[in-house]
Amino acid sequence: MVYVVIIFLWTAILLYILLGGADFGAGIIELFTSRANRPRMRKKMYEAIGPVWEANHMWLIIVIVILFVGFPKIYTTVSIYLHIPLVCMLMGIIARGTAFVFRNYDAVKDDMQKVYTPIFVISSVVTPFFLGIIAASAVSGQIDLQARDFLSAYVFSWLSWFSVTVGIFTVTICAYLANVFIIGEAEDEQDRQLFTRKARRTIFVVMAAGGLVFLAAHSEGIPLLNWIFSDVPGIIALIMATISLVITFVLLNRNKPVMLRLLAGFQVTMILFAATYSHFPDIILLKGGDNLSLLTHQGQFKTIETLGYALLIGSIFIIPALVYLIYSFQQKKGNTSAH
């Protein structure tokens, strides 16, 4: 049963990156869109993410619940040593979740929009940035359970070039996902060209940010290359991701939105796979070589068993409803306004 729970955990993380990420990306690309194009882009984005907006963020809750129920030691270690970046991420989540609703549901559209919009845009960058930092800190051996002073226990556990570059990389991934996603939403040729141009640029940015991650890992002695290239599945995942990125680049010009979305999703899946496969079942690598493993730090048998059943039963309800939600709003474009 523990494997069922781990599959749910991994899938929930992946879906949060994909769906939540595309969501964050919406705010990020708003930041990098010229003032003239912004209203058009904002409207398209709102139409696309409005109906699924709330659901996208539930994946994070699922991740947290699985961790604290099934793997309490892992949850509490992260909570204690990564307190500061977690608080920063939470601030982003609060600001973003509320600003989105405020700007779309305020009965009066006036100067208050100038308050909501920057909050939305800035928190769209802040949240995935700290999410990336947290993920990187978990696997880069920065957390030191022996640390006694404030800085080494609670600051250097997450603050490093490696973490920062992973944070930036996460932000670019979100922007990339959102850009590819929005191409499919474009109804006229002008929009499509605008979004295609942006998507193409984002691909380069993602690659550059990815390069920075490797450089930072190298300079801090984190064996990132080893992790990815030490076993066959990791290498295959990376090759597949690269090939599909090339295909995406070629396809950007042709009108194949669904294909593009699948490819982008596939790339991110492969990146997450390559990043997690080599240390599985370890999830947190600690300073000094000790690791927290999903298998040795799982909760008692009965807990894992009931958690597994709860997740299975839950997904029977959630998945069809979610698929139907996404399907029906993709089918009937047009009047998406909630007003």
Binding site: I64, V69, A95, T303, A310
Partner: protein, 442 residues
Amino acid sequence: MDDFLAARLQMAFSLGFHIVFSCIGMVMPFFMCTAHYLWLKRKKAVYLDVTKAWSKGVAIFFATGAVSGTVLSFELGLLWPKFMEHAGPIFGMPFSLEGTAFFIEAIALGFYLYGWNRFHPWFHWFTGVIVGISGLLSGILVVAANAWMNSPAGFDFVNGQYLNIDPMKAMFNEAWFSQALHMCVAAFVSTGFAVAGVHALMILKGKNVNFHRKAFQIAAIFGTVAACLQPISGDISAKDVAQRQPAKLAAMEAHFHTEKGAGLIIGGIPDTATKTVKYALKIPKALSFMATGDFNAEVKGLDQFAKKDQPPVAVVHYAFQIMVGLGMAMLGLAVIYFIALIKKKNWAESKWMLKLFVIATPMGFLALEAGWTVTEVGRQPWIIYGVMRTADAVTPMPGIAYSFYLFTAVYISLAIIVSLLLFRQITMVDKLYDSSTDKKIQ
């Protein structure tokens, strides 16, 4: 400020904030669906307008409740890691199920808010009902988890070890039913009176009266029914607390000395030094009856508990008095409104009735916060009653005071923005909707 106090205050603030938003987010969908049902049945445009106006409130409160709930799921670990390390696997079951319920609520809300003219009208209405039901379910589940902290079950505590964990037993602990019932009814009372009060004020101002009158009626009926049910659930809760957490009951009542045929203390100022209550009204033998159903039964006083195991008496006592007092005031108003609905039709339309409802607007939420204070502060000094002390659960990270300031600032600004938003929603009603007549649309 020391870290322990800061952590407690931050948790109190976060919960105090979340509780208001999640209660509204949990109850408003039922009002919305009632208006929607009336629109589908009677085809009067005004009901459609009320439904749409309320659905925006639902969206705003759902979003705010959802983010503050997300924050809480992190804060449990950020502030109380040692509690979560042991408690997570035991009381996690309701949280896992709540995740499902909440997810379904979010999906259903997507269907509802964006589904106008896209689906069969009754399917669309049904998605709104699902929002309400799944919201209520997640409320019940979260309270069941909290009830476990008051009534730990589903594990054996041996030499500091938590053995033989049974998550189902933990979820269906002895307190889950009475707490969930009391909380859900309280959510209906407070939201009902708050919404009714706002619409009553707008009727008094004479703006878009037809619209606000329809809205007022729906909210007021929900609120009054719930207010009349609440004393029953309060009685169940009192007997339950008396049995399981006698120290909490003693603090609620400032009942210092164990005695048979104990009197019920109303109001008053408890003095822990002299173990007396000044200026209180005392009803002989009533506490014994309330706690056990027997006028002469013995009720444990605070003298039965070591000083270090006693909750702060004054806070719990005052909070309890406030809750009961406000509850009684709302019950009184509910009874008057009922009489008005059944016998004295002219009362229901009268200005004084509306004014009473305006006065009652904040009462439910004040009572809610007070009641929650009784539950949580009354459990102190325990985080898991009788098993783990709150002081032993706090994070080792220093500087929590800064985190407390930060979260407080964020919550205060959110509360201000949401209030502003609601104010604008309400004042825009006459510009957005033309509901002056009962016109029908085919």
